[in-house]
């Protein structure tokens, strides 16, 4: 399972991928920022299209493991998170650092591009917004105008 509602612990992921023949371990943590678009963020909530997020995550991990000789652990947290909480954690272990860095970068970039997860931010003034909302508004108008 790549999705979890529990706090993420990097050491658990590292333990999953580490072994005596893998001399390079690269990790990435994505944490909750306290600002977005010039506004102060107080908290946020992640939700997903769970079955698709699981299967696309598995695909991405398999692609990276096919391309580089590495082992990969990936988890994304869902639900309510606070500032500084870890939202996504990746650990990649390879024989050497080059493939571990490359595979880790691939996994986070593809996750952001392809895994169906969304976030809703609560700002310090109490307003709550989906992060996609600005884009959806402007593109919605453009989309309907061209049809």
């Amino acid at each position: 399972m790549y999705l979890t509602r529990s706090p993420l612990t990097l050491s658990t992921l590292i333990d999953e991928v580490a072994s005596a023949d893998r001399g390079g371990i690269v990790s990435f943590l994505g944490t909750v920022r306290d600002h977005h678009g010039g506004r102060e963020v107080r908290a946020l909530s992640y939700s997903a299209y769970d079955p698709m997020a699981e299967s696309v995550s598995a695909e991405i991990v398999a692609e990276a493991a096919a391309r580089w000789p590495v082992r990969i652990a990936l988890q994304h947290r869902l639900g309510d998170l606070e500032i500084g909480d870890v939202a996504v954690a990746i650990a990649v272990a390879g024989g050497h650092r080059d493939e571990a860095f490359a595979a880790c970068r691939y996994v986070i970039e593809e996750l952001k591009r392809r895994v169906p997860i969304w976030k809703k931010e609560t700002y310090s003034d109490g307003t709550v917004e989906w992060v996609d909302q600005g884009a959806a508004n402007s593109e919605g108008r453009r989309g309907t105008a061209t049809q």
């Binding site: 698709m52 939202a87 976030k119 989906w130 959806a136 402007s138």
Partner: protein
């Protein structure tokens, strides 16, 4: 998800995140008549009240895979209409 719950002439569409909120529902059932592609599904959903919220960057998934607009669809497929992603 529950293809057997839908009649053969109905296309069942899941909405997510801001789209579910704007349209006020997580699942929409559309008459399958004349719906051949993912793009047709998108057009039908956009024609609903508040459907204008569904923008040009909208993603469609068919059976858990990202689907270009010309992907064929049929009743019983698991179809999702998704706003731009924001994971990570």
């Amino acid at each position: 998800m529950s293809a057997e719950a839908s009649s053969p002439s109905v296309i069942r569409v899941q909405l997510f995140a801001s789209y579910a909120e704007r349209l006020g529902q997580h699942v929409i059932e559309l008459p399958a008549d004349g719906v051949r592609t993912a793009g047709d599904v998108l057009d039908r959903v956009r024609a609903l009240p508040s459907g204008a919220a569904i923008g040009a960057s909208t993603l469609v998934a068919v059976n858990l895979r990202h689907a270009p607009r010309d992907t064929p669809v049929k009743a019983g497929d698991e179809i999702a209409i998704m706003p731009p992603l924001a994971g990570g």
